[in-house]
C-alpha cells in the first residue's frame, strides 16, 4: 500500500504535486486526483489516462522546460524525477476551460475527410481555413531553441537479440546466455517483468517482479547486455535493428548522453513484445475515468494507486476480472462486472462471482459525463438499459499481439478466428515471436521450466472480439488520439474510401504517435462489418517504423554543429588567415571569398581584387580543384572514354580544356586535361564534383572498359594549386623560377623558393595565367614567394568572388550554376570542342532527336544590365512581368573592366535572341532589371590577352 504523501515533487500545468519513487507521471497524477490531463487532437474533448505504457493514445503532455521541452510525451511513459515539469497540450486558455471545445467550432468544422476535401478543393479554401486549423488542431509544440542535450550512437552485434523483458523474453534471453550466446535484451520499461509488473503471481516461490529482476541479473552475470528504457524503433533488412535508449527521462538534464541510438546487427531476433489491450467501443468511451482494464490493474498493483472510488469493469473475456480483484484490494468499490459473453465460466469467473456483482451478456452503451469526468455508465444488462454510478470504468475488448517489428521484418500474418486477431506467421528474416506476442496467454506454458502460482487461477485466453458497438447517441471512439469515431469510419465507407489504406488517409485513423496501437483492430472490425467481409479481408495498413516517436536529436547523434559534415581546410588556410581572408563554404571546403581592407565591403573588395588581376597580377588558391592522374599503357583509352574532347593527339607537355558528359549527354563536369608523358595524364575538374568524378573514372575503367591497364590516382589532396593571373603573371613567374614561363596550355617543371613545382599555363580569368602545383606540405614558401613578387608589381591575392567576376566576363561556365545537369555542351556553346568520332560516355545520347533539333533548347547567353543596375541571381528571364519565364539568370556579376552589371543565363533559343531586350524579373528579391541578351563573352573577344 502506498504512502499518502509523495517524496518526489513535480508540477503539472504550474501546480505543485508530489509522487512516489517508481511512479509514472500518469500514476502520480491519478494519485494526486488529477483526472483531466489533455485535450484531444481535433475535437478538444477532455481526456484522462487510458493506458499504461507507450500505447497511451490520449494523455499526451509536454515534459521539460525551454529548449529541453519534449512535446507529445505519453504521461504513462514518463517516470517521475524531482523537479519534473509537465504541461497539457492543445488547450487554450486552460485545460479545464478550453475555447476550442466550448464553442464546438472544431467539431462542426472538422469531420472526417476535412483535410482531404480541403486539400483537393480550391486553394482559397485552404488559405481560409489554414490559420484556424493551425491553432485549433495539433499536437504539442516543439521547442524553438537548439537542443541542449547530447545524443550518442552505438553499434553492436549479438547472436540473439530479445525484444521485450516480460516472462517470455526473460526466459528466452536466459536460455541463450546459458547456451553461451552473445545476448542483448531490450526492454522499453524502466524495470524488467512486462506483464508480471501488473500481475500477482509467484514464480519459483518469488513474487513475479522479484523473479524478473533476478533473471535479468543472471543474464547480465552471464555476459548478456540488458538495456532498459530502450525501445526498438525499427526492424530493417538483414536482421538490422535500431533502438533508442533513454538515459534520462523526458525533460531531465543529463550528465552525458540523454539518449543513445543503438544500431544492432543480430544473428537471431526473438520478439517477445507482448500484447496491447483493445478498447471497447461505446458512446463517450473517451471520458476521463474510462481506461483500459490492464492499465487500471497496473496502477493498482504496480503503483498502489486507485484509479477511482467506484469502478465498473466492462470486458469481453476473463483477464479483466483480475482488475476487479486488484482494485477491490485497494478499497475501490466494484459496482459491477459487465461481461459481454452470455456464458462465462472457469475458476477466475467463479471466484469473481463469489465476491462481486457479475452481469453476463452485459455491456456499456454510453458513459455519462459530469463536469469533465466520468459519473457513470448506461449499460445494457439483462436486455434493459440500467444506469450504474461510477468514477472509473475499466474496459477490455481483448488483447492484440504487438506485431509491428514482425511486420517490419517482412513476416507474414495469420488470422486466428478463435482468438479474434492476427498472429505472427512465418518470418522472412531470422526472427521468431514468442509468448503473448505469439498468442500464448498461459504463463505456465510460457515458463515451462518454472513453477508458476497464480492465486486467482488461470483465465481463458483474452481473445474474443474485436468488438464495436454504435448503439447510443454520443461519439464512440475507435482511434482516441486522432479523434476518429464510428461515425467517421462509416462516413468514409459511404464516401467511397473503402480500403483501409484509403480510410486511414481520409479519417487520419492510426496516425500520430498512436500508429494504430490501440484502435487498429476495432477499426478493422467495424470496416469489415460495414463492408460485409470477414475481418482479415478488410486489410491492414503498413506497419512503418518507428514504433514509438524518435526525437530528431537521436538520429543526428553527435553529428551536429561542426560535426554535421566534415569541413575541409586548405593546406594554406593559416596563410590566408594571416592575410585577413573572409571564408566561405564551397562544398565541403572553406575557401577565401575575399581579403577585406579596412572599411571595405565584400563587394568592394572583390571588385578591387578583380581589377587588380586585370591591371597587374593576382594569386588565388585553387587547391580544392579535383585532380586525377591516370597512368599506364591503356591510360589513353580511359581518358578518351571519360573526356568528350580530342585526346589522343594531345602532345606531351600540353593541355587543353575538356568536358565530361553523363551518359544522357548532359555536362557532368569540366576542367583541363594534360599529357604529362606518353602514358601519363592529369585531369583537373571541379571542386564540387570531385567525389563524383573519382567514382565515374573507376566505373568507366572497371565496368565499361573491363579493367584496362591504367591506374587512376586521386592526387587532389597531394597538390596545392595556386593560380597566378594577370598581365604581369609571366613576369612574376619567370622572376621566381629564373626560366621562361610555359606557353599558353603548356606545362613545365620549375623551382620556386627552393621547392620543385609543376606549372600549367591555363587561364580561367581571361588574362595570361598559370596554375602552380606544389605538394601541400611545401606550399607555404611558394605561396609567400608568389604573393611577395605579385605585390612588388602592384598585385596581390584575390578570392573566390573576384575569380567569379573574372570568369563571368569571359563566359566560362561553372558546374552547378550554368552546367546544372540539364545542359548539353551545345547548349553551352561548346558543341565545337567535342570529339567528332564519338566513343566517349554520352556521345550516343547527344544524337537524341530532342537534342539535335534546332529549337527549344536553353542556351547560355550573356546579359548586360541596360541601366547598370545589378541583376538578381536566379531571376526569371521574361518579356513582361508575370509571363512564364523563358530562362533564368545563373550567375550575376559586376563588370570588372568598366562600370556596369552583367550576368550569365540560360535562355530558350538564346542563341537566336542576341540583341533582344528582356527583363530579369525576381519577385522574391523585388527586382526587375532590363537586360540586353548577347553572347556570353564580355571581355577581350579575340582572346588576345591570355595568349603568350
Amino acid at each position: 500500500m502506498r504512502d499518502a504523501a509523495g517524496s518526489i515533487p513535480f508540477t503539472f500545468d504550474g501546480k505543485a504535486y508530489a509522487g512516489q519513487p517508481g511512479d509514472t507521471l500518469a500514476a502520480a497524477l491519478i494519485a494526486n486526483g488529477v483526472r483531466l490531463v489533455a485535450r484531444s487532437f481535433k475535437l478538444h474533448r477532455p481526456r484522462g489516462i487510458m493506458g499504461a505504457g507507450v500505447e497511451e493514445p490520449s494523455a499526451l503532455v509536454t515534459v521539460g522546460e525551454g529548449a529541453r521541452a519534449e512535446p507529445n510525451a505519453r504521461a504513462t511513459d514518463v517516470f517521475l524525477y524531482p523537479g519534473l515539469v509537465a504541461r497539457s497540450q492543445n488547450a487554450w486558455p486552460s485545460l479545464a476551460f478550453d475555447v476550442g471545445a466550448v464553442n464546438s467550432l472544431a467539431a462542426a468544422l472538422i469531420p472526417a475527410g476535412f483535410y482531404y476535401k480541403t486539400f483537393f478543393g480550391p486553394p482559397s479554401r485552404w488559405m481560409l481555413y489554414e490559420r484556424f486549423i493551425r491553432r485549433a488542431a495539433g499536437l504539442g509544440k516543439p521547442p524553438q531553441a537548439p537542443d541542449p542535450d547530447h545524443y550518442g550512437h552505438r553499434s553492436a552485434f549479438c547472436d540473439v537479440l530479445v525484444v521485450g523483458a516480460g516472462p517470455a523474453g526473460l526466459a528466452a534471453a536466459l536460455t541463450a546466455v546459458d547456451a553461451g550466446k552473445r545476448v542483448i535484451l531490450i526492454e522499453q520499461d524502466a524495470a524488467p517483468g512486462g506483464s508480471l509488473l501488473r500481475e500477482r503471481v509467484t514464480i519459483d516461490g518469488e513474487p513475479g517482479v522479484v523473479w524478473a529482476a533476478n533473471v535479468a541479473d543472471r543474464i547480465r552475470a552471464g555476459g548478456g547486455r540488458v538495456l532498459l528504457r530502450t525501445t526498438v524503433s525499427g526492424y530493417w533488412d538483414d536482421n538490422f535493428l535500431t533502438a533508442v535508449e533513454r538515459r534520462v527521462e523526458p525533460g531531465q538534464p543529463a550528465e552525458g548522453d540523454a539518449q543513445v541510438l543503438w544500431r544492432v546487427r543480430a544473428g537471431e531476433v526473438v520478439l517477445a513484445t507482448g500484447t496491447i489491450e483493445r478498447p471497447l467501443v461505446f458512446a463517450n468511451n473517451d471520458l476521463p475515468g474510462v481506461m483500459m482494464a490492464g492499465a487500471a490493474r497496473a496502477l493498482a498493483l504496480r503503483h498502489g494507486v486507485a484509479p477511482g472510488r467506484r469502478a465498473v469493469i466492462a470486458t469481453s473475456h476473463d483477464e479483466a476480472y483480475r482488475t476487479a480483484f486488484a482494485l477491490a484490494d485497494l478499497g475501490v468499490e466494484i459496482v459491477a462486472i459487465l461481461d459481454s459473453r452470455t456464458q462465462a465460466s472457469g475458476p477466475l469467473v467463479e471466484a469473481a462471482r463469489a465476491r462481486f456483482v457479475v452481469h453476463a451478456g452485459a455491456r456499456p452503451l454510453r458513459a455519462i459525463r459530469r463536469g469533465i469526468g466520468l459519473a457513470g455508465v448506461d449499460a445494457l444488462i439483462d436486455g434493459a438499459k440500467r444506469r450504474l454510478l461510477a468514477d472509473c470504468l475499466a474496459m477490455s475488448g481483448g488483447a492484440s499481439p504487438v506485431l509491428h517489428l514482425h511486420r517490419q521484418a517482412g513476416g507474414a500474418l495469420e488470422y486466428d478466428a478463435a482468438r479474434g486477431g492476427f498472429l505472427p506467421g512465418a518470418g522472412r528474416q531470422r526472427h521468431v515471436s514468442i509468448g503473448a506476442a505469439a498468442g500464448e496467454h498461459d504463463l505456465s506454458a510460457i515458463l515451462t521450466l518454472a513453477r508458476v502460482v497464480d492465486p486467482l487461477g488461470p483465465g481463458s485466453p483474452p481473445a474474443p472480439g474485436p468488438l464495436w458497438h454504435d448503439e447510443a447517441p454520443g461519439k464512440a471512439f475507435v482511434d482516441f488520439q486522432n479523434d476518429v469515431t464510428t461515425l467517421d469510419l462509416a462516413l468514409a465507407q459511404r464516401e467511397g474510401y473503402v480500403s483501409v489504406e484509403h480510410t486511414k488517409r481520409y479519417t487520419t485513423l492510426g496516425m500520430g504517435t498512436d500508429q494504430g496501437k490501440t484502435g487498429a483492430m476495432v477499426a478493422l472490425a467495424q470496416i469489415a462489418d460495414l463492408r460485409g467481409v470477414p475481418l482479415p479481408d478488410a486489410g491492414l495498413t503498413t506497419f512503418r517504423p518507428p514504433y514509438t516517436p524518435v526525437t530528431m536529436g537521436a538520429f543526428a547523434g553527435p553529428m551536429k554543429g561542426d560535426h554535421a559534415a566534415p569541413i575541409r581546410r586548405l593546406p594554406l588556410a593559416a596563410a590566408h588567415d594571416a592575410l585577413g581572408a573572409l571564408w566561405v563554404p564551397a562544398g565541403a571546403w572553406m575557401r577565401p571569398r575575399a581579403y577585406l581592407a579596412p572599411d571595405e565591403t565584400v563587394a568592394q573588395a572583390s571588385l578591387r581584387e578583380a581589377r587588380m588581376v586585370r591591371a597587374s597580377v593576382g594569386v588565388v588558391d585553387v587547391s580544392s580543384l579535383a585532380k586525377f592522374e591516370i597512368a599506364g599503357p591503356d591510360a589513353v583509352d580511359l581518358v578518351a572514354a571519360v573526356c568528350a574532347t580530342p585526346v589522343a593527339k594531345l602532345a606531351i607537355g600540353r593541355g587543353r580544356y575538356t568536358v565530361m558528359l553523363r551518359e544522357d549527354g548532359m555536362v557532368m563536369d569540366d576542367g583541363t586535361l594534360w599529357r604529362l608523358a606518353e602514358d601519363r595524364w592529369l585531369i583537373t575538374s571541379s571542386t564540387g564534383g570531385a567525389a563524383r568524378m573519382a567514382r565515374h573514372l573507376t566505373y568507366v575503367a572497371d565496368v565499361l572498359l573491363g579493367h584496362p591497364r591504367a591506374a587512376v590516382v586521386d592526387v587532389g589532396e597531394h597538390w596545392a594549386g595556386l593560380a597566378l593571373a594577370g598581365p604581369q603573371a609571366a613576369a612574376v613567374l619567370s622572376g621566381l623560377t629564373g626560366a621562361e614561363a610555359p606557353a599558353h596550355m603548356g606545362l613545365g617543371d620549375a623551382v620556386i623558393a627552393g621547392v620543385p613545382v609543376r606549372v600549367l599555363a591555363a587561364s580561367y580569368s581571361g588574362e595570361r595565367a598559370f596554375e602552380v602545383h606544389v605538394p601541400g606540405h611545401l606550399a607555404r614558401a611558394v605561396f609567400d614567394a608568389l604573393v611577395g613578387a605579385a605585390r612588388g608589381l602592384g598585385g596581390g591575392v584575390y578570392g573566390l568572388d573576384a575569380m567569379d567576376h573574372l570568369r563571368v566576363e569571359k563566359g566560362h561556365v561553372v558546374i552547378g550554376a550554368e552546367a546544372d545537369g540539364r545542359v548539353t555542351p551545345a547548349d553551352l556553346g561548346l558543341g565545337g570542342v567535342l570529339r567528332k568520332t564519338g566513343g566517349y560516355v554520352g556521345w550516343q545520347a547527344l544524337q537524341r532527336p530532342a537534342l539535335v533539333g534546332p529549337v527549344g533548347r536553353r542556351h547560355l547567353v550573356g546579359l548586360t544590365s541596360v541601366d547598370h543596375t545589378p541583376i538578381a541571381e536566379g531571376a526569371m528571364l521574361v518579356m513582361r512581368e508575370g509571363e512564364p519565364p523563358l530562362g533564368h539568370v545563373t550567375t550575376a556579376a559586376p563588370r570588372v573592366a568598366q562600370d556596369g552589371a552583367i550576368a550569365l543565363g540560360l535562355l530558350t533559343d538564346g542563341a537566336t535572341r542576341h540583341g533582344q531586350i528582356m527583363l530579369a524579373w525576381s519577385p522574391t528579391r523585388r527586382s526587375t532589371v532590363p537586360v540586353r541578351v548577347g553572347p556570353p563573352l564580355f571581355y577581350d573577344a579575340q582572346g588576345a590577352r591570355y595568349r603568350d
Binding site: 533488412d237 538483414d238 522472412r428 567514382r695 572497371d702 565496368v703 550516343q844 545520347a845
Partner: protein, 79 residues
C-alpha cells in the same frame, strides 16, 4: 540496412556501398545510339530478381543478384 558480402572485405553494412544501376542499363561505349537510348529510357523494371551494379568504399565494383521484393541477395561477384 542490407548486409552485403564484399568479395574483398566480407559482410559490410549497406551504408558503405553505393548503388549504381541495374546491369541491363549499362550503356557500352560502342553501342549504337538507338541501342544506347533504348538502354537508357526503355528498360524493363521486373518485379523480383534483378542484376545490379554496386560499388564498395574499398573501390571494388560488384554485381549483385538481388530480389527487389524480399531484398534477399543471391550472389555477389566482383566486376
Amino acid at each position: 540496412m542490407l548486409l552485403i558480402p564484399c568479395p574483398h572485405c566480407g559482410p559490410r553494412n549497406q551504408e558503405e556501398f553505393a548503388y549504381e544501376r541495374t546491369l541491363d542499363s549499362v550503356v557500352r561505349l560502342n553501342d549504337a545510339p538507338e541501342l544506347a537510348i533504348a538502354t537508357l529510357y526503355a528498360r524493363a523494371n521486373p518485379r523480383g530478381q534483378e542484376h545490379e551494379i554496386w560499388s564498395h568504399t574499398c573501390g571494388q565494383w560488384l554485381r549483385l543478384t538481388r530480389d527487389r521484393i524480399s531484398h534477399a541477395i543471391h550472389s555477389v561477384e566482383p566486376l
